[in-house]
Symmetry: D2
Subunit: 160 residues, 4 copies
């Protein structure tokens, strides 16, 4: 049930800054939405369902799932689906993203492609990898993509 | 104004099967939504705004824009944004997609990546490339991606 | 044996302009190289081996195979591997590309992503999809990616 | 000149394990090859030239450059070109990769897409980001892509 899920979700699984109660509620809700989004995954090739839910700075939430393709490289991950959806609705400032898979014993972390996609919109937002029971970890994108290549690097090409 | 746009939009620019009046209305509305979606384009690198609007079989419409990245290959086109959005909401059957750019004199056709992404969901749906004045052409995906590589090809690998 | 392979290879499977004998030799050699490249395929996820061999305008040949990734969208197709290899050696003008898979009964056509990648280097070069017995078809890239989006479309954005 | 370049190259710019003299020679040579590969960059859209040189476990070196596309997401980075080239020649075990751009004041780090592509072939190999004067830093891929999504995560989907 939803109550039970919320319960499990609030089990903080890694050391991290303990948020206020209301912050935890926001995170749990985000995790739950990422799990619901997972149900829409189109993944006939990997059978690896992934869902994501991104939280915009004003509180709006957008969800995504992976969308695979017979030509594997043409597919799309859940995180990019969620973020592009948000951008297409006018949002480019984000606070957090939660990611859900069916893995029981492992947290699902974003792949490098998605980290790069996220990075375009800043490095100081939170990523919440989860296990299938709803437990989660908290990291910043900066921790997941150190020494990233971003807009500033590209524009520096005209400085030399 | 919207009236004016609708007017222009209905100027069929290429020979094609003439739909009933109500079909034209649906197309014009789709074209207009693709133009509105173009306003959300995040394209600081190309300055090439693109919008797309995909029509699901039951009449639902989902829009998308391009979302670029400082690492150019990590970006996303408008068509894929729109379709992944639809998939993430449970839609995998489509009737048409309209694509809008700021090009005045040229119809904006989908790139090969997007044609491949679309192809996963069938070949017999319509693509409406447009000019910035709202005039459009009509083609099927099959015409735009002949001899495509799709799910059947991939699964044929176990037949030998 | 190579003789046998060359034999089979020269079985033209689709109607097309019949080249001179020496042209056929060049094509058969290209097909054979695409089949050899297939042996290097790294495809633990799809088990779908693909090889490609691209012929530069001066006669140089570069081969490639698919290189998959646990995050499926991060993988690479054989055609792009072969062409990027050629570009990295200073070649940007091409005459033909042959593509080989293990499919017995179907010609292996390039996916839309690869068609787009090829298109950057012109539309008037030949694509040779093959079956596993070395029989092949001949098409131009223009036939496989009609109404393509290319460099001219992108640069037209400054004309309005 | 090559002497001068080699000189500059050997200026270790970041704290790190100091290798034996012969190791430094190998690194300097790799850096130099990445700089030479940069000359082949096809980057009419970004004007951001990148070269890469990957060192296989047996000492073989493969180089690559970025290969851009009018449809930006269809392009390819230098690192992936170099590695796919190596894979297509039968190499899947790597010791190091050097990356060169024209940035004078900043080290060029790989984008997230390339980190993901590299990760398929292990996490314990060295990445050498460089500045245009040939100075370099040394990091492991594991440091650049912590908590990565890799083959083990994908295969874990059948454990639940």
């Amino acid at each position: 049930t939803s109550d039970n899920l919320s319960d499990v979700c609030c089990k903080m699984s890694s050391p991290g800054p303990v948020g206020a109660h209301s912050d935890e509620d926001v995170i749990c809700s985000l995790v739950q939405k990422s799990q619901e989004a997972r149900n829409q995954a189109y993944c006939p090739y990997s059978n690896f369902r992934v869902g994501a839910a991104v939280l915009a700075s004003d509180g709006a939430v957008f969800t995504g799932c992976n969308v695979e393709n017979a030509s594997y490289p043409a597919g799309l991950c859940a995180e990019r689906t969620a973020i592009s959806k948000a951008v297409s609705e006018g949002y480019t400032s984000f606070k957090a993203i939660a990611i859900a898979s069916d893995l029981k014993d492992q947290f699902i972390f974003p792949c490098g492609v998605c980290r790069q996609f996220m990075r375009e919109f800043g490095l100081e937002w939170n990523v919440y990898p989860t296990k299938s029971d709803g437990s989660y970890r908290q990291m910043t994108l900066k921790e997941l993509l150190p020494h990233s290549f971003g807009p500033d690097d590209l524009s520096a090409r005209y400085n030399h």
